[in-house]
């Protein structure tokens, strides 16, 4: 091929692949613009703090925000200790070619790939039908109380779903702690657990925080796992105990979009709800990104 035609082909390929990248970004922009345009009008402080009225055509979505927040809070409390300790095991305690560590890693990778609806089935089959019913038998004389969809079961289900996120982020953070700090601690007569608790974990804190935020962003957006583990479309009260049901931004979106009796009337609320959900997700991801790049920058300049 002549040089000129090779250059043309090269130019064409650059254009084509650049167009692909632009397409992806472009669609992102379209989504953001469409949601923003449709939902901006309805967005207000009142929308965020008041409850829905008139069959979801008036009022706000506060209960959905509250439910989402409360559920992700419970989820985080459950997933952080388990995820961090698992990462600590993998990075600080496990011997190099350990079979057990290999199994744990494989399990975590697989967990990351399980479809979210299967997590919903797991929540139903394990937490509600097994643990909940067992609690009913033991604590409630067989009467149905714990073995039903509830905030706590949804939170625990999502905790299992987001476990890989926390583990991966924490391990990355542990790896970033320089080895010579561990050496210094051990040389002073500290034990391994003291070294981890006093030197390594404090140093890994930003990365752990990033992992927590990413888990929350993920958990707040997932709808399939909570469909039959605790979420509801309309509840008269806010959830008061871990065994209450709850409303949720994502689920609210789904129901409003697919099952609303009057599409036109609920449309503004629907768009505004999606807008809130998107802003929340992006804000969380953005904060995590900032923390991560600042820690990397600091580590790079310190070395």
């Amino acid at each position: 091929m002549s040089v000129r035609s090779r250059r043309l082909v090269g130019g064409g390929l650059t254009a084509a692949t650049g167009a692909a990248a632009a397409l992806a970004i472009g669609l992102l922009a379209v989504i953001l613009w469409d949601v923003g345009r449709g939902g901006w009008a309805r967005l207000s402080w009142e929308f965020l703090v008041s409850a829905p009225r008139e069959g979801m055509t008036e009022g706000g979505i506060f209960p959905a925000i509250y439910g989402t927040a409360l559920m992700t809070l419970l989820m985080t409390v459950a997933v952080l200790p388990v995820g961090v300790l698992t990462a600590v095991y993998l990075h600080e305690y496990a011997p190099p070619a350990s079979r057990l560590a290999g199994l744990v890693r494989a399990a975590v990778t697989n967990l990351a790939g399980v479809p979210s609806i299967v997590f919903g089935l797991f929540g139903l089959g394990f937490f509600i039908q097994f643990v909940g019913r067992a609690m009913d038998r033991a604590l409630n004389g067989g009467e149905l109380r714990f073995g039903q969809p509830a905030l706590i079961w949804a939170a625990l289900t999502l905790a299992v779903l987001t476990l890989p996120v926390v583990i991966v982020s924490t391990e990355e953070a542990l790896r970033a702690v320089p080895r010579d700090l561990r050496d210094a601690s051990l040389a002073l007569g500290a034990t391994r657990s003291q070294t981890v608790a006093r030197v390594v974990l404090p140093g890994a804190l930003p990365g752990i925080l990033t992992g927590a935020i990413l888990a929350v962003a993920r958990g707040a957006g997932e709808v399939a796992p909570i469909l039959f583990t605790g979420v509801a479309y309309f509840l008269p009260d806010l959830p008061r105990t871990p065994w209450s049901q709850f409303m949720h931004l994502g689920y609210h979106t789904y129901v409003l979009a697919t099952q609303s009796p009057d599409v036109e009337a609920t449309r503004p609320i629907l768009y505004a709800t999606v807008l809130v959900l998107l802003v929340l997700t992006f804000a969380l991801n953005g904060v995590a990104l900032v923390i991560r790049s600042r820690t990397r920058g600091r580590a790079a300049s310190a070395s």
């Binding site: 050496d183 210094a184 601690s185 051990l186 002073l188 007569g189 006093r198 404090p202």
Partner: protein, 263 residues
């Protein structure tokens, strides 16, 4: 090859630390080959030799830090006050409280100056604030750093200069009140003025501690140590009174090294 007992200064008494036929290997390749060496108490022993000769590996075997590397295997004995300390049964954590270490590149924790020095005390169980304060001050004085930091103990240790950080690491190691202090090229990353301060410090500390220093700087070894051991390719070639090693070595390889023919 074998150290001449009569050449090891005026040590008639038992050595503070001793190794017998110590072998250290990583994944099958031996880094330290059959080294038997006596380290006299309250003296400074220097290890010299070209890069990769095993002197740092040997140093780390003395406080069992090489055990942290998974592929490391050790044979032979390491003794402290006549008691074997590298058998599985002797607690490594306990050993490291008695045999402290200062590393080549200073590695202060990202904590305050006070907390750095107090670290070893806290993990050792000391909690009384007055006691901590007193022992931190004492260690910083011993490391010749107190005057420079006494008004900013709560500030981050990372704000100190390189030389100050290294002295901080020395203070940190001294706070635990070890009996032996191992120093792995403690001044190699420092400028001459800071280096001189460290060398003065070593000279003063010798009165209370047994010091072992690894250095690739022969002039430093000559300035600072009472006895010198020359390592080459994992073997202890010669050990003796510093002056003798540098002016009148017995082994040919030692002479070649100290006269700069290689290394």
């Amino acid at each position: 090859m074998r150290p001449d007992p009569s050449a090891i200064g005026a040590v008639a008494a038992d050595p503070k630390m001793e190794t017998r036929h110590l072998v250290v290997s990583y994944g099958g390749k031996s880094a330290v080959k059959d080294v038997s060496l006596r380290l006299p108490g309250n003296q400074v022993t220097a290890f010299i030799g070209p890069s990769g000769c095993g002197k740092s590996t040997f140093l780390r075997a003395l406080n069992r830090m090489n055990e942290l590397i998974p592929s490391a295997e050790t044979e032979g004995e390491v003794l402290l006050d006549g008691e074997q300390v590298n058998a599985g049964r002797f607690d490594a954590v306990e050993l490291r409280r008695r045999v402290g270490m200062v590393f080549q590149k200073s590695n202060p924790f990202p904590k305050s100056i006070f907390e750095n020095v107090a670290y070893g005390l806290r993990v050792g169980g000391t909690r009384d604030r007055a006691e901590l304060a007193e022992r931190v001050e004492r260690s910083l004085v011993s490391a010749a750093l107190w005057e420079e930091v006494k008004d900013r103990l709560q500030e981050s240790a990372l704000g100190l200069s390189g030389g100050q950080q290294q002295r901080l690491c020395i203070a940190r190691a001294l706070a635990v009140e070890p009996e032996v202090l191992l120093m792995d090229e403690p001044a190699s990353a420092l400028d001459p003025i800071a280096t001189a301060k460290i060398e003065d410090l070593i000279h003063e500390l010798k009165a209370r501690y047994t010091i072992v220093i690894v250095t690739h700087n022969m002039q430093q070894a000559a300035r600072v140590s009472d006895q010198t051991a020359f390592f080459y390719m994992g073997e202890l070639v010669e050990v003796g009174v510093t002056e003798q090693i540098f002016t009148n070595p017995v082994e040919r390889r030692t002479e070649d090294y100290v006269t700069g023919k290689f290394g």
